[in-house]
């Protein structure tokens, strides 16, 4: 048993290392991962900031304080979605065929990819916080809460990695995997508390926006960053993360096993 667990760890570490090496060898991947959030932050801050700067979306006097947690959730989600695209790409190369013929853990190929994508998300989050500070953002609740906020976002993105792993495994090619992810992700991101207060939306949309995981993630992150009310968002988010992992980890591993 101890041996089994040790092998699981070795396998996952070997695959994680491989995926991280790819990021190092393909610096354009990291580059665009870093540029994308900077563009998002700049655009949203200056496009919406003027209109929203005097409304409920201006916390501590600035929209950036409201915006940054939201956009960090959005960007780490997009980062999580890379998992499926990467896996679908691997599936079309011969590499997965080799890995499946080895006496290695069946979940390691997927887990290694999700971990590597989380590492990349950490880098992206660091860039966003740095750039956010330039635009006037500030953590108002101290270092410990700031770390909790980052951990929440990272974990949420990680759980979505597994949803993405599943769609990636089900897709016939990387392009389909990408399209499949974005169809679901856009309505979820925009009909949430990520960019504007939910109270400004029509009633029917409020019902949806108030009860979906992205809003919980954003509200929890915002609470630990700048001290807005939590409204039970944290435990609801944790339940969602556990639920997503409980469903999609076994489902993804099963699909990986079955797919030739």
């Amino acid at each position: 048993m101890a041996n089994y667990i040790l092998n699981q760890i070795t396998d996952t570490a070997a695959i994680t290392k491989r995926n991280l090496l790819r990021y190092v060898r393909l610096p354009q991947l990291i580059f665009f991962s870093a540029v994308q959030p900077i563009i998002f932050l700049t655009l949203f801050n200056f496009v919406f900031g003027g209109a929203l700067g005097s409304s409920g979306a201006a916390i501590h006097g600035k929209y950036i304080n409201y915006l940054l947690p939201g956009i960090m959730v959005q960007v780490t989600m997009f980062g999580g979605l890379q998992t499926g695209i990467g896996l679908a790409t691997d599936m079309t190369s011969g590499l997965i065929t080799r890995l499946k013929s080895l006496p290695m853990s069946r979940s390691a190929v997927l887990a290694g990819r999700t971990f590597a994508d989380s590492f990349r998300n950490i880098i992206v989050m660091a860039i966003m916080v740095g750039y956010g500070y330039i635009l006037g953002f500030k953590f108002y609740k101290g270092i410990l809460d700031a770390l909790i906020m980052l951990a929440i976002i990272l974990l949420f993105g990680y759980s979505l990695s597994w949803v993405s792993a599943f769609t990636g495994m089900k897709s016939k090619d990387p392009e389909t995997a990408q399209l499949a992810s974005f169809v679901f992700i856009f309505p979820l991101v925009f009909a949430s508390a990520a960019f504007v207060p939910v109270s400004t939306m029509p009633k029917w949309l409020q019902h949806f926006a108030n009860n979906q995981p992205i809003t919980y993630a954003v509200e929890a992150a915002r609470h630990f960053a700048i001290g807005t009310p939590l409204n039970g968002a944290l435990w609801k988010l944790i339940l969602w993360i556990i639920g997503i992992l409980l469903v999609f980890v076994p489902l993804s591993v099963y699909t990986y096993r079955k797919r030739a």
């Binding site: 396998d11 080799r98 013929s101």
Partner: protein
């Protein structure tokens, strides 16, 4: 385990919906030999390799590797085998060394053991100089060698090589052949799939011919060739009506059934070995019977002939039909 066949398939079928990729194929190979699986594109070779190497399960039938049931004990089988596929299964953006090291770790060698094994394999495959270069800078032959190296990390007792030389130039191909021969000399059992009769002929101790998912012949290279009648003299008739006469006149010279392809107006006369000596006799006979011919050619057996003889269809035509169907569907 010592008396068991290297691998064995018993009435194995694989269906993908309506498509019967493999129908009731049974075969088995002795240890320490090269078993050649010969067939055109889409014949079912890869499907069989994928099932033997635990990647897919058969729809029906039983598979064993060294006596271990593949369906019930896939993980035990994975410890016995190595697989090198049609497409080099390595990461382009990793160096040769990193690729092999990763596989070594996945075989659960310790970091130190993995390093030693990687170094040794790269040296054996003359890739030591390129060890620190990313694979995308490698030539086609180097990639295949590295891929083969990755399949050897776990000291496999049975090695599956799925069209290992497809797309390689002749020199690189014969380099790979040498490596394969060395492996067998060290005691490895090999299943080699190929589209080239020449390759099966060169390497395999035993050859099975597969087409449309069915096993249509097997035996040693010599047995298959004698079944084919060895060399074949081919010619066309100026007057198609002469065919009856040709059959009668040439019967005593033929070593097998004379086949006339009416569509192409082509007579296939099997003459056994030493076809060039028979050529003169054939020309004399035809001349004596006042039969005029258009083109004349001595032909050594190829995969086409195996198929023509066994199925009446040329392998190249099978492949073309498949291709055009595919293209049409798009």
């Amino acid at each position: 385990m010592s008396n068991q066949p290297a691998f064995k398939a018993i009435k194995v079928s694989k269906y993908f919906g309506e498509v019967h990729a493999l129908s009731e194929v049974s075969l088995s190979s002795e240890q320490g030999k090269i078993f050649g699986l010969l067939g055109p594109n889409g014949a079912g070779k890869t499907t069989l390799v994928n099932m033997l190497s635990t990647l897919t399960e058969p729809t029906a039938g039983k598979l064993e590797v060294l006596g271990v049931d593949v369906i019930n004990n896939p993980n035990q089988v994975r410890k016995l085998i190595g697989l090198a596929g049609q497409f080099a299964a390595i990461d382009e953006y990793l160096t040769g060394e990193e690729n092999i090291y990763m596989v070594a770790r996945l075989y659960h060698l310790s970091a130190k053991e993995a390093k030693i094994r990687t170094k040794k394999l790269l040296e054996e495959l003359s890739l030591a100089d390129a060890a620190k270069r990313q694979v995308r800078t490698y030539s086609g032959g180097m990639r295949r060698r590295l891929d083969l190296g990755a399949s050897l990390v776990g000291h496999p007792k049975v090695l599956f090589l799925d069209e290992p030389t497809t797309g390689l130039d002749p020199r690189t191909r014969s380099e790979l052949w040498d490596i394969i021969r060395d492996l067998v000399n060290e005691g490895t059992s090999i299943l080699l799939t190929t589209q080239y009769l020449e390759e099966a002929d060169e390497l395999a101790d035993h050859i099975a011919v597969i087409d449309h998912g069915k096993l249509i012949a097997q035996g040693t290279s010599r047995q298959l060739k004698s079944q084919l009648g060895g060399d074949v003299i081919k010619f066309s008739l100026k007057n198609k009506n002469d065919i009856e006469k040709v059959m009668a006149v040439l019967k005593p010279l033929s070593s097998g059934k004379i086949i006339y392809e009416e569509k192409d107006n082509l007579v296939n006369l099997p003459v056994g070995s030493h076809g060039s000596r028979k050529l003169i006799d054939v020309v004399r006979k035809l001349d004596g019977a006042k039969i005029e011919t258009v083109s004349f050619e001595l032909h050594e057996p190829t995969l086409d002939d195996v198929f023509l003889n066994l199925t009446g269809i040329k392998a190249s035509e099978v492949a073309e039909v498949k291709k055009s169907k595919k293209g049409w569907r798009k």
